[in-house]
Subunit: 698 residues, 2 copies
Amino acid sequence: MEPSPSPSLDRLFRPRSVAVVGASAQEESISGRPLKLLRRYGFSGALYPVNPRHQTLGGLPCYPDLLSLPEAPDVVLVGVRADLVPGVMEQCGQVGAGHAVVFSSGFAEGGDPEAQRRLADLARASGVRVLGPNCQGLVNLAEGIPLSFSASLDTDRRPVGSVGYISQSGAFGFASFAMAADQGVGFRYVATTGNQADLDVVDLGHYMLSDPEVRLLLLYLEGLSEGERFLHLLEAARAKGVPVGVLKVGRSAVAAAAAASHTAALTGDDAVWRALFRQYGVIPLEDGDDIQDLGRLAGSVPPPKGNRVGILTTSGGAGIILADACADAGLEVPSLSPDLRGRLDPYLPSFGSSANPVDMTAQVINDPLGFRGCLRALEESPEVDQSVAVLSMITGESGERMAEDLSSAFGEAKKPLACCWLIDREHGGRFVDRLRADGVPVYSSLGRCARALGALWRWSRSTPEPPVDAEVSRNLLDAFPTSLTEHDAKRFLARHGIPVTRERLVTSREEALEAARQIGYPVALKVMSPQIPHKTEAGAVALGLGGDEALTNAYGRILESALRFAPEGVIQGVLVQEMVREGFECLVGVKRDPLFGPLVAVGLGGIYVEVLRDVSLRRAPFGLQTAREMLRELKGYPLLTGARGQKPRDVDALAELVSRVSRIAAAEPCLGELDLNPVFVGFQGGGAVAADALVLRR
Amino acid sequence: MEPSPSPSLDRLFRPRSVAVVGASAQEESISGRPLKLLRRYGFSGALYPVNPRHQTLGGLPCYPDLLSLPEAPDVVLVGVRADLVPGVMEQCGQVGAGHAVVFSSGFAEGGDPEAQRRLADLARASGVRVLGPNCQGLVNLAEGIPLSFSASLDTDRRPVGSVGYISQSGAFGFASFAMAADQGVGFRYVATTGNQADLDVVDLGHYMLSDPEVRLLLLYLEGLSEGERFLHLLEAARAKGVPVGVLKVGRSAVAAAAAASHTAALTGDDAVWRALFRQYGVIPLEDGDDIQDLGRLAGSVPPPKGNRVGILTTSGGAGIILADACADAGLEVPSLSPDLRGRLDPYLPSFGSSANPVDMTAQVINDPLGFRGCLRALEESPEVDQSVAVLSMITGESGERMAEDLSSAFGEAKKPLACCWLIDREHGGRFVDRLRADGVPVYSSLGRCARALGALWRWSRSTPEPPVDAEVSRNLLDAFPTSLTEHDAKRFLARHGIPVTRERLVTSREEALEAARQIGYPVALKVMSPQIPHKTEAGAVALGLGGDEALTNAYGRILESALRFAPEGVIQGVLVQEMVREGFECLVGVKRDPLFGPLVAVGLGGIYVEVLRDVSLRRAPFGLQTAREMLRELKGYPLLTGARGQKPRDVDALAELVSRVSRIAAAEPCLGELDLNPVFVGFQGGGAVAADALVLRR
């Protein structure tokens, strides 16, 4: 499954001619607004209203159809009824239009997947790449080109910045854009993809990443049709050093059902998405708030070099709330050295505090140099990696001066600097607006500021493991029977280098006795039959057999039980297996996700998995770094490293086993599911061994 | 520790005369603003500026000192330097002023606890109850009386509503008030308490609760000096049906240190606060955002009867985000019946959806009756307990109409109805302002709306257990030795009705043999010595002794070890103890919190507590309801009720034991610490028994 290369979308994002099919004279209607917006933004290319009912529209000549245009338009905006769209698409193909942006609803989301398939076919046949249907189009803010009917663009405000934002939902996409713009976030492109009959979030994402001015990529996702292409997009962003924030909806069952019907995409399992976000260093978003909060920051400050935050505050209480929120967000609020405190103290009143948070108190309004001095001291100190200035109800001239000080400090800062100004619009709106105009990330919420700083810090620190090759051996599974017994599964795993229990398949009691003596008592006996995948339930297992007599008795008993359980079953033989005497119980498994392919899970055995659901998950294949991260993520990890005075376990061997399983999963396309349960992990140096295994083909 | 009765604070909150000591002609300074504000608000009582340097101030006669006033003022606002405050306080006492509100800083928070003690002494001696020092005063918005210098009050906007808000931090309190007012929250009182030399959050809280118009009480807390008084306040609020939201700061170590120095109070252990919030049904807040979000809702909608939310949206994507957020917040977004869908469908376009979220799509702007009809259908349906209308970029006349529809639906609603309007100020500000003026809780964030609805729902549902009496038996501990051995501890517990292992204290091998035969093998032997609290480490324990021979050997061995470990130790004897053969290991403990007194902890034994920190905590005493809640809170709870096909354990017996321990903790004032570890819990009907016990006196 190689990803299809992303098309160049220059004609879509930078058209020199735009036709508006179904253009209306009612400027406030969905069909009237695109033309209105293009004119309001002063679009410099050719503009062609198309509507057989008008001769002219807004002073422009209006054409009866696309075939009548004087040239092939780069973009055709389509706002007609769903049943008229195919005809328009045919004309697009005939004239050689570059792209169609289909606003029309009533395709897959309205219960007519057939209409959508037809649209996709027409796009493919004509070479006209389509955005939509059921989308609200896009805007290139950098060059002032709106190809949308969204009311959010009907303004003189052009919040140009470095954020690229792609949303499957048109209404949410442009609404969250407008609210973020209100909060000072600057965008370079906003695009909505709707039902994604043709072009999708991934295509548009690659295009935005090709613009070096894009410094943050934000995605609203309901689902995907191809997982791997999406992961390549994430890798491309990482390679360019561009953080990606993803708002993946449909986490709950109700929401997933709604998302599936909304844009008719596979929403996927939430646990899988969360695992992938960790694996690929994606910043998870939950709400439009997160779009504002991250957008404000990521586009305007340098990546943090560390997680130590210096807090400078006019309100002791607000400083404390921020310190709590920083701790929650994985940031450190370090104690400051006597040296640094000595530099801060001269600017503070006697009842202030140069501990961190640095409490200037409201007295700072009486000291014109204090704020500037404190900001400089923190910026210049190697003791903090980022700073936040917290201002409360500082008004009037003091507010003016502090906004100015902060702006100029921000302009010179080599470290991230953010501001929380806790003030109402009437008293502080103009300060906040001024700071935002200067690019300063200003928050009205302490918690949200801390969470955004924490997210950016985690992103800067995360170093996704370089892709690993799968095993050299491939397709070993082909040589095994269709239904694999435990013994088959173990031989398969052993050929791939996974340590398994010593064991021998026998077909008589005598052979069993010989094998047991060779392996060494105690042993386990297990009846091998493809018809008995769950051997314990069938009574086909005897554990801890200490000697010849016990083995002799058990041999007949388990064979009888097995035959009773599956009278028609094929008995391959009886497995004589070493009893692993000591080892911490873990499990390692592989499942295939419909979107993302093979995933590897590891958990501590028994109750940890079943009651506490303490499992970590990654997409295969991966190397040791990722395997170790998975283990460290487990809540029960201390049990492996020696909690309660226990000797530490062989974590290296377990990580090696997990990584190897991931490479097997990638190298065996016919492998559907794999369960190693339990894997026994010995003490350090003692290795890890699979004591039971189940392999299911796809 | 009976709580001191709260003083009536009518003279403070509704003064008929106010003196401003240190009043300044500079209206924008801290000492100038109180007078300015009182005049701006048209304070109708007598106003006395006091400052020897002025004859008049703002047209009012100015007095050289308090002694020169024509009457005893109800409130004296004090904004002079810290060293001048005692003189002012003395004059307050001499003239018989009602209250002093001390803005001045430089007391305990500035490293001068002595000055603060002196202030408290003066208050006590004179009967003048003091708010502050280091506070920003208060405002009675209902009657327009500002007793503060906060710039947040310097406006014509009077956001009068039903929220009472008390903050220890002056700057944060008024800043968060101003921001919440911007977001449509209406307040009745805002008060800041600063260092709380005299009046504290609890005093003011009781006063606000005495006003039936207060429908939500919000507290910003850094710490307390007396825990029990605070808990009585929570109980009083519960009795009146008033939700209490508490922003308790100092959760992280750095923040706790800052809080401790900021207002010099005991911040307390975060885990304890969280447990108390659960026990007393308090809504935990983390940020100023939460003040806005809860304030908007709790003051204006009826308490929800259930957690089923109907979502009505113009943006499918936004509806999905809200559905996810509702699930996260413990709310249900139920599927709607065919009947209800049949009522909604006529208002929806063919490509909309009457599933929940109900997706009206942007087409609703073309259908003037649709929104109203859908709102009514949800309000009238018994299938949902609360509704949220999600609007995206609906502008112009459509926006106008939908705001109107929503306002009138809200006015008639018997169920909670909230709105998320995702729009920028330019296009939607006036709709949002209009809705807020009509009392509709309007959010710009889907997640925050869901969290507020969830918090209010949890509050409505929570029914704190009525207080239980402690044990009838009290002070049994007095009859025991100063240092209790395990045997002493168990006798003590047994007398309080706690089931303990069968055991006998012996002083010879022969007696031991006899006891063992009586109890029944296997048994454990343990050397009892007050000098050996940790017996296993000292080798003073032998477990699982199966018969006479094993017991005989062990007897001498453990005595020897014990003597080697504590050569000077007093040996009380050797305990012969039944070995509990079967039982799920738990632990139950009591610790004494400096603020809140005895707390009971229960956890599943071994790794659950030590690695996963899976413990629940409550304040003693409590009954079975609370004990059961504690158990259900444990992540490992399914292990008790029969996870993995196990037979369920005797949860009732464990709950009974936990509740009994809580009553012992309350009935034994000399009990410092109690540890029952392990407690073995048998299968259903099998009881729970303490197998080891440690009692420490205070």
